[in-house]
């Protein structure tokens, strides 16, 4: 089966993603890939790649052919030819069918996947769109109205790599590369304080509102630029905390107090602006056990 999809509406940060462009950090390129890896897998694994949509949603028409779609991630409202369908789920589509997805009660990112491969030019082995490096997807840019996407005849099944969503509660962190540069009292306040997700968020990072002023006046200067990993909690020169996400810069010179563990990063990515969050420390061993116990 194969199909051609015509994009009728797309939010400003709707991108094509696959598992990620790994192995390129030494060339100055971070891996990208889904903001919510678990939801990306939940949407389907029989065809390579998929569409990551933001709260603005997406609308498309099957211009020709037929395909099966799977959809997951957060809560969205989906209609097929105007008839509501249940989110998370799957559907079989034929030529002329129109799918419209609009925001629901929670979440920032939703995923659409297909029974066959999404056709896009692989750059360095991946079709994932990097908003930072402007690579992958459709000419390195987000999807826009008028784009036409083709699905292949065949699907390349992908294997599971992502952890499932975690429970509620504080976001679990391991102490970061520069935790020892923060005063013990400040580290304590970091754990006791509540932060808010700000509206300044994208695939590169999520700024937090520090209304308890944990990091106001923090002044840690001249660090040698060093490796960044997704989930790093970086404190800017003006005291703003930023959680670095999938399109993070590969290296950076701002101090990082903590790293959100892999098992909690998908959940963090789905938190909307205004959500209050808190952090709790775990050991690296515990964080790894959580990943293993999920298999």
């Amino acid at each position: 089966m194969s199909a051609v999809l015509a994009i009728l509406r797309a939010g400003p940060l709707t991108t094509i993603q696959d598992e990620g462009r790994f192995g390129m950090l030494r060339h100055g390129i971070s891996a990208s890939g889904p903001m919510d890896r678990g939801a990306f897998e939940q949407a389907g694994r029989s065809g390579r790649g998929g569409i990551e949509m933001t709260r603005a949603g997406i609308e498309f028409r099957v211009a020709s052919g037929q395909c099966q779609i799977g959809f997951a991630g957060g809560d969205f409202t989906i209609t097929i030819n105007g008839a509501p369908a249940q989110w998370l789920g799957m559907a079989r589509l034929g030529a002329g069918d129109v799918v419209s997805i609009t925001p629901g009660a929670w979440g920032n990112y939703g995923y659409l996947r297909f029974d066959t491969d999404l056709m896009a030019e692989a750059i360095m082995g991946s079709i994932a769109t990097s908003s930072r490096a402007r690579l992958g997807g459709v000419n390195g840019r987000p999807l826009q109205v008028g784009d036409v996407l083709e699905l292949a005849e065949q699907g390349t099944a992908t294997k599971s790599a992502a952890p499932a969503h975690t429970a509620e509660g504080p976001l679990r962190i391991v102490w970061g590369l520069h935790a020892d540069l923060f005063e013990p009292l400040q580290r304590q306040k970091f754990l006791e304080a509540s932060f808010d997700i700000s509206s300044s968020m994208d695939r590169m990072g999520v700024r937090l509102n520090d209304s308890c002023c944990v990091f106001a006046g923090t002044n840690i200067l001249s660090l040698a630029s060093d490796a960044i990993v997704p989930g790093d909690v970086q404190i800017l020169g003006d005291g703003t905390p930023i959680v670095l996400m999938r399109d993070h810069q590969p290296t950076g010179g701002y101090p990082r107090i903590a790293t959100i563990i892999t098992a909690d990063l998908d959940r963090f990515a789905q938190l909307r602006p205004g959500t209050a969050i808190a952090f709790t420390p775990v050991t690296v061993e515990h964080a790894q056990d959580l990943l293993r116990s999920r298999r």
Binding site: V174, P250, I261
Partner: protein, 221 residues
């Protein structure tokens, strides 16, 4: 310049970065010895990667080892890294040499020269005198840090950031010369530009310069 072998000093610190990576750091600040040790260890690990390692990344003063937490652990990787540091033979990879032609016409060139009490011509001559090591690739695709210049040729960054400079910009700050390969913001001084393109997303590998390579800058004819 010291060699690229991991020396017995500086002593590395091994720190987990999240739950799926280990960072091996050779100090807290950029020195020739720390950089040489990082490049040397990255080469050792490239030639003999620990089981479960997914990616080895040389940085300015550290090596990132990204691993599969389902196959191995930070502790196991740390043990493997220590074994390689202890048991290393005189592992000396080939050092490649590059000549890079630069048009020294950047908007900050005269300010930089003035800061050293030099004419532009004298600064260019001093800048090009020695060969520099490619210290690391980072920050952006194909962005390379080259250094280190001697102390008397060291200047802090500019107080303000330019929102966008084109690929091929030759930047100068903090004892280093850097070359941009993509359009990017920078707080470094722009001293010139080069036609040398270090990033081609369709090439394999996508960048040309590797950490440890020697670079000699020349005035473009």
């Amino acid at each position: 310049m010291s060699g690229l072998n991991p020396p017995t000093n500086p002593t590395p610190t091994l720190v987990p970065l999240g739950d799926s990576a280990l960072l091996v750091r050779f100090g807290n600040s950029l020195t020739d010895a720390a950089n040489g040790a990082a490049i040397g260890l990255a080469r050792l690990l490239d030639s003999d990667p620990p089981a479960g390692a997914l990616e080895i990344v040389p940085n300015l003063i550290s090596v990132l080892v990204r691993f599969d937490p389902l196959q191995t652990s930070a502790q196991t990787i740390a043990g493997e890294v220590r074994l390689r540091l202890l048991g290393h033979e005189s592992h000396r990879a080939e050092t490649r040499e590059w000549s890079i032609a630069v048009a020294f016409d950047g908007p900050d060139l005269s300010d930089v020269a003035t800061a050293f009490g030099m004419t532009a011509e004298a600064f260019i001559a001093a800048h090009n005198r020695g060969s520099l090591r490619v210290l690391a690739t980072g920050f952006a695709p194909g962005f390379v840090y080259c250094g280190l210049h001697p102390n008397e040729l060291t200047l802090p960054r500019r107080p303000t950031v330019r929102p966008s400079v084109p690929p091929g910009s030759v930047l100068f700050a903090a004892g280093q010369t850097a070359i941009t390969a993509t359009e990017m913001p920078t707080g470094w001084h722009i001293i010139g530009h080069t036609d040398f393109a270090n990033f081609d997303p369709t090439a394999s590998p996508p960048t040309r310069l590797e950490p440890g390579d020697q670079v000699r800058f020349m005035v473009a004819p």
